[in-house]
Symmetry: C2
Subunit: 420 residues, 2 copies
């Protein structure tokens, strides 16, 4: 276990691979060590990078270093703007670091990330990490809530969020929902867009299935799983998910073998939203997981749309709730496409659509764009100070600017993209 | 024919009635003389008042006076801000006045407004004019496009727009549309609101019918007709319209006996919108008269809502179009009520609803409120100069301010309401 050996060596070694391999192995190991969005884990990786975070998790950092760490976590938590319930605050709670290290240290030697990487390779998959060129820019909008890595099955490169549309909805969809989901997904794929969904029964499954009938995009569909990509969940969709892996992508931030659980589903929804320029909810009850995906999409500054239905259908009540809250009303693929189509690519001559394309950048986006340096990247915190915005606003704007190719990640932070 | 005799006498006489009666008779006569929104007629009434406008229409004004009139109409047309297609521009076209006078003069002696007033009295009706306290403030938002008068059947006072909701839609409604229209209308009436509609088959008729089953409001429903209120159109709704006249109101800007025609239907729609705080479209095809009512409501700064339906129903395509254009999504009476309920009257605890109620006045409304004098009224033109807004903006804002009781019409124009 290279990660463990490195940790035991006190300092990460170049032996057994390049620095890049070492980072990849460390991220693989960490993705098995703690849950997505674990407060302490997230902060450690953010502050020290994955390899050093793994060494610390292994308990190989000297006691005085751990003390300094705890105060630096408390300092970082200050950036939460006094939100005592934020993840940084949770990480900074006295004892949080010590308790995490106590849980993690005995497990680190048994993580076996290289075994996971080999298992993925046997499935025709690979690990994609933020350091890779393939890392979808859409995920950058998640900031510190971005995944450590993505376990990916499927040959092609991960599609860009600006060419992807999430189609989500009820597991117990009605015939109406199934029908609309299929037509929307097939239409979006025929127009060259990748259909992202969650692999579940009902709307999700039908969206994947219909997208697979299209020959247009290289990656017709992506299923973002709440467990490992070798687990076919739900089992009734096994054949469908195998086909998605073969012709599209199965994706998860959890390592092979991980089982899906309720909180993993909820966390998974942020990835569906972040991987897509638009989230369309086809059917959803008043309280539905699909609404959480829509909410995440809105938080990221992405477009949210809902399909209307009968006012007597409980399965449309969530959609109507979204429409009341400002989601776009979408009744067919053409309308959905026009929401995400780049300037001039509209299918009908809608003068308003043109205005929308030209006015694409909001005031906040423009303020962040102005604040972005051209050469060396700047961190979110510094951008927030320069632009006079909150860090959350800056993060959301960075995601949108990346989507339209105006900004990119570089050493030390974010900068204007060369084409921007 | 008093109106004609007065005109023949050269100067209107007080004989046979007070000045108020004279204005009422003049408005009755003019409503038969020219079509609603007639450009020259509208400008004459605006510039000279109804009694003098009738004298001019009778051709009793000396030639030099008519010449001065034509230039003054041209001057008024300047207020159209160079919109060469506006009604004022049409009235100012060379020869427009002369041609109108040529058509009107021979007809004035035969108008017989008192016969119309007597006919209305026999039907249990009356003529309501802008000079009456009963004149609905909601109509004031129409400015120069307001009706000359309203021929009204029904005992009670005309209800205030802020307690009225228009429910409109397809004539060839589906079972779904009929069902939703009925539930919405009954629900609104049970909550104390008057249901305004157009008396047509389908959604309109069902809305009237359902509202009549409620005992709550003094005026459960108002049907705004495109012809005279003694004409039951469509004939299949005769029984329903008789009941509306008995328990609610039948209303028209056209005199008794006038037959409905296509352009009268379109003009009628502005009255439905202006008499209501909210217009709800239940079902509408892509091109539908109900959408014109919704558009007029939006122009007046009133709320517009649409009921969602199946994306496969052509009868819901117009509703989805409205939703895309920013109409509120309404699925039941409670939701519609919350859109119009005064602050604190919401039925559910919706924090956003509270914000909406407190922030009720838009910036434009506040600017017009600031510009309104406390004592002597000011005209739209002067208010536009003071507030730095267009006349159209000022008119729309005045309508909204009247609706919430912050402004009122007084001699010479508009002023702050005493309660405001």
């Amino acid at each position: 276990m290279t990660g463990g050996q490195q940790a035991r060596g006190g300092r990460p070694q170049q032996a057994g691979g390049s620095g890049m391999d070492q980072v990849r192995v460390a991220r693989a190991a960490l993705s098995r060590l703690f849950e997505p969005l674990d407060p302490v884990g997230t902060l450690l990786v953010e502050a020290f990078g994955p390899a050093e975070a793994l060494r610390i998790a292994a308990g190989r950092a000297p006691a005085e270093e751990v003390g300094a760490l705890a105060s630096s976590l408390q300092g970082a938590a200050g950036a939460d703007h006094g939100d005592a319930s934020g993840p940084r605050a949770a990480a900074a709670r006295p004892g949080a670091l010590a308790s995490a290290l106590e849980r993690w240290a005995p497990r680190v030697p048994h993580l076996a990330p290289e075994r996971d990487l080999e298992a993925m390779a046997r499935l025709g998959g690979r690990l994609v990490i933020p350091e890779d060129a393939e890392w979808p820019a859409g995920l950058l909008g998640l900031g510190a809530e971005g995944p450590l890595c993505l376990w990916v099955r499927g040959d092609e490169s991960l599609p860009a969020a600006e060419r992807s549309v999430a189609i989500v909805g009820s597991r117990d969809a009605t015939g109406y929902g199934i029908s609309v989901a299929g037509e929307l997904a097939r239409g979006m794929a025929d127009l060259g867009l990748t259909v992202v969904s969650g692999g579940a029964y009902g709307v999700d499954g039908q969206a994947h299935r219909a997208a697979l009938t299209s020959c247009t995009p290289a990656v017709p569909t992506v299923a973002v799983m709440a467990g490992g990509v070798d687990r076919y969940y739900p089992s009734g969709n096994e054949e469908l998910l195998r086909e998605v892996a073969r012709r599209g992508h199965l994706v998860s931030e959890l390592p092979p073998g991980a089982s899906p659980s309720k909180h993993r589903f909820l966390k998974r929804n942020r990835l569906i939203a972040a991987l897509s320029a638009l989230t369309v909810v086809v059917e959803a009850r008043w309280r539905s997981g699909a609404l959480s995906t829509a909410r995440r999409a809105a938080d990221l500054g992405r477009l949210v749309a809902a399909v209307p239905g009968s006012v007597y259908s409980a399965n449309s009540a969530g959609c109507h709730r979204l429409l009341r809250d400002g989601a776009a009303c979408v009744t067919d693929a053409k309308e959905a496409y026009e929401l995400v189509a780049p300037s001039g690519e509209g299918l009908t001559e809608d003068p308003e659509g043109q205005v929308r394309a030209h006015d694409g950048l909001s005031l906040v986006d423009l303020m962040v764009l102005e604040a972005l340096p051209v050469r060396r990247g700047a961190g979110v915190e510094s951008l927030a100070v320069v632009a006079g915005l909150s860090e959350a606003e800056v993060r959301a704007a960075l995601g949108r600017l990346c989507l339209v190719g105006l900004c990119e990640r570089s050493e030390g932070g974010w900068r204007r993209s060369r084409k921007g």
